[in-house]
Symmetry: C2
Subunit: 151 residues, 2 copies
């Protein structure tokens, strides 16, 4: 089993509200649509299912853990074979004026080429999340940063 | 042991020269300085040692493998404890008009928070490499994209 790991820090002129704003961007359909993919639908509550759609397919996630301003976990229940059964974890913590986000996409069976792609893509989408909270403007699909011939 | 993995694709109006240009950006001091850190010095030849410096420290790499337009491997011989002894591998291949780069930073002992940071940072620097070859302009340190409170 191999994992994709990332870390971003988010800082705004109102640091006391930053963690909540990051949490909202991870736990509302509107928030998710503003940094990951505009085609986000479903139920963002605990036990709910979220559908994320991209030009070439998409992912269905079950929300398995929600700890306000601290932790969000999704389980992948639909999408490419390599993704189904993996989990995506978001840990939030404050470090001075920064909200630090530790990201892990865990449980890949093999370090296939698609995993390399998804790792870079996740990093780029995390910077989209950072821009959304800091500057009010993310780069969700289909306006996302293209990293290779797969998108 | 855990690995950081990434994938980018580079495409230019002259695809027959793209792979060579990516390879040059990985195997010359001038190329490396244009996408990773402006403070790059040393010997980029096989068995040589390269020194990469950043505002807060740096890395020394031994060049352990050079296969023109196909593969580059560095071994980390100086830098933070977590990095020393790890290896950094670059695999290049052509896929139609694209040059695909598979990147692996292998041999981390533990998935520490610093590894999360380095994963996102590598992804961002790989996009700097892509921009350098595609548009002639990378974003090396100290002009690099800041991802968190560590830089």
């Amino acid at each position: 089993m191999v994992d994709i790991l990332h870390r971003i820090g988010v800082t705004t002129p109102a640091p006391e509200t930053t963690t909540q704003r990051v949490y909202d961007a991870l736990t509302t359909v509107e928030g998710l649509a503003a940094w990951w993919t505009e085609k986000t639908t479903g139920d963002a509550g605990l036990g709910g299912e979220l559908e994320f759609r991209f030009p070439d397919g998409g992912f269905d996630m079950e929300v398995t853990e929600l700890r306000p301003r601290e932790r969000v976990v999704w389980r992948v229940v639909g999408g490419p074979d390599e993704w189904v059964g993996t989990t995506i974890e978001w840990e939030l913590c404050q470090d001075g004026d920064w909200t630090v986000v530790l990201f892990a996409h865990r449980g890949w069976r093999e370090p296939v080429e698609f995993m390399h792609h998804c790792s870079t893509k996740w990093g780029s989408f995390l910077l989209s999340l950072k821009s959304l909270v800091e500057d009010g403007e993310g780069a969700p699909s289909p306006r996302d940063v293209k990293i290779d011939n797969w998108g």
